[in-house]
Symmetry: C2
Subunit: 350 residues, 2 copies
């Protein structure tokens, strides 16, 4: 039975909080029946999220009666299910719909949800639930599989989108590339992956290494980055991912105009050059791993401002810079293929 999704974004239908919804609409449009947000009823996702065109936003489950699955479409700091959402989740269950969540609050751990699901014979899926228990061993890594990791100056700036678009573009050029999902939205899109921010700290690098080992028959892996090395709430996730992925090269992602760190906005984001330096220093303890391209999220600024920024940053870093949506991924793919052809990275492996 194929999924027909209603994506719940009640009270949160904006591109930042509803980033899970945005990405599902972008990459799994054919599965999405509607978004559910009674405060925005009658509008479209194109109007509110800039993606999905005329995909409707409905005000109740009854208005999307052909859907069979409710998907929780937000990713807030801390990952709690909003209390006001309980009623609609229970209504979906009572209508015989499966429910898919990616939050830290697990549907399957909630006694009321679990009992209702059993009664109505529906499935609750917690994408973040895992029992990872392997430490990284740093053995058996294939030297000639090129591992690219997206890193960034903050959360929610486009690391997942950049990774997917780069991997897709590489495959369109005839390369043998695979996107590696490390977060709930990426897993919902790709159908596999590991929600590393939900893994016990001792096993973060091991969980990433396990994905690398399982997929290194591909020539190129494009690994979804998480958080930021300078995010005081989430840097553990970021460094564990960096060391578990052991990339030979990185793509640096940032959002133009982002100043404060997500969730701790009173702390300013350090300059992009510092972000690059920290990532290269921490990635390169055992294996050189340069930043070879920059993915700029310029959604907050005009096309003219984006062009000026692109030229300025490209000149500052001596690297290709592009906004995936405005310019496509071709400049980054060119840089990746040039790096891949250089062969220097193979000799440098541990």
């Amino acid at each position: 039975m194929s999924r027909r999704l209603v994506i719940l974004t009640e009270g949160h239908t904006n591109p930042h909080t509803a980033k899970t919804a945005c990405s599902l609409v972008r990459y799994r449009r054919h599965e999405v029946v509607a978004l559910l947000d009674s405060t925005q009823r009658g509008l479209t996702t194109g109007e509110l999220l800039g993606v999905g065109g005329d995909l409707p936003i409905v005000g109740s489950l009854a208005e999307a009666s052909d859907a069979n699955t409710l998907l929780l479409g937000i990713a807030p700091p801390g990952g709690k299910i909003p209390a006001s959402w309980r009623a609609v989740i229970l209504e979906a269950i009572s209508r015989g719909m499966n429910v898919v969540g990616g939050l830290h609050d697990f549907l399957t751990d909630d006694v009321e949800f679990a009992a209702a699901a059993e009664k109505h014979n529906v499935t609750l899926t917690d994408v973040r639930k895992n029992d990872e228990r392997d430490i990284a061993r740093c053995v058996g890594i294939r030297d000639d599989c090129l591992r690219l990791l997206t890193v960034g100056h903050d959360c929610s700036i486009g690391k997942m989108v950049t990774s997917i678009e780069i991997s897709n573009a590489l495959n369109e050029r005839g390369e043998d590339s695979k996107f590696i999902a490390t977060g709930q939205t990426g897993i919902m899109i790709d159908g596999e992956g590991c929600p590393i921010d939900r893994v016990v700290a001792d096993f973060v690098s091991g969980a990433v290494e396990k994905m690398i080992l399982a997929h290194q028959h591909y020539d190129i892996l494009v690994i979804e980055g998480q958080g930021s090395l300078v995010h005081p709430s989430y840097s553990a996730v970021t460094l564990g991912l960096l060391h578990g992925a052991s990339p030979q090269a990185m793509i640096l992602c940032y959002e133009v105009g982002r100043e404060g760190i997500t969730g701790v906005e009173h702390l300013g984001i350090p300059p992009l050059a510092k972000i690059r330096e920290l990532n290269e220093v921490m990635a390169s303890v055992f294996r050189p791993s340069p930043v070879i391209g920059i993915s700029m999220n310029s959604s907050r600024v005009s096309a003219e401002e984006a062009e000026a920024e692109r030229e300025r940053v490209s000149a500052e870093f001596g690297l290709p810079v592009c906004d995936i949506f405005r310019h496509g991924a071709s400049d980054l793919v060119d840089a990746i293929l040039a790096f891949k052809a250089s062969d220097a990275w193979k000799a440098e492996a541990v």
Copy 2:
């Protein structure tokens, strides 16, 4: 009822694997009746672990019949309970003993152990079990509480011991200092703390921050470090701790002669100067945090070699260097008090 401990180290009674046992004997000697290792029966902990003097190693629980608690005394990579230990754990339970473990494998999650404990009315305690679910917010941190963090070039080199000894020595000098435990052994010794390597990655920094907020009425907090920023298995734990603790100064710990990284020995440990640099760079993103002293674990080398090493490293770094056990903590305490008196660290707070 006071604890009377038998510490289980069966097959592992050496200072490295049995580091939990070593530290319990060192700091909670009055609670320890014996170690249990049938392969070393009749020897003493003084002979095998270099601590505890004539504390006996027994071959069976029957030989320590006045004990009321079995404590699992090892901390292996991955944290699994050795399969061969199940029988003695079940025997202890059937004898009416409580069992305390600090491994990733939880006693309370084991159906057979849990059933036996219920039947015999004893308590199973998993020191690493936690439900931390708060992200770090970076607000409310007291600027004039001096937070010292021990960092190091690898696991199991003496960060906990250094932290305890420094905090104790500070208090003996009339300061108002508190040791903050972040690992299973530290928690078993101090009676409180958070096992941060067992916390879900998103909440590591938050769990540490919570301990800081709860104890910042002390003038000085000496926070137990974990792992190493260059440990490819555990660096997530280390960076999350570093950012959650937000130290104003650090003590750098290392073991003389340690060459390979614990558990991944085919990877060499970078030079100590590099370790200092990485910790200072990553700690100082938002707040300067210099290394102000070096704690040298010289247990593998002679007294003469230790002295030569001490002079060499002190000259290289321009910092006080001491082996806590050979030289005491006074040089480090002097450095800490000089730093505390300088007041520069207060002005630098975010």
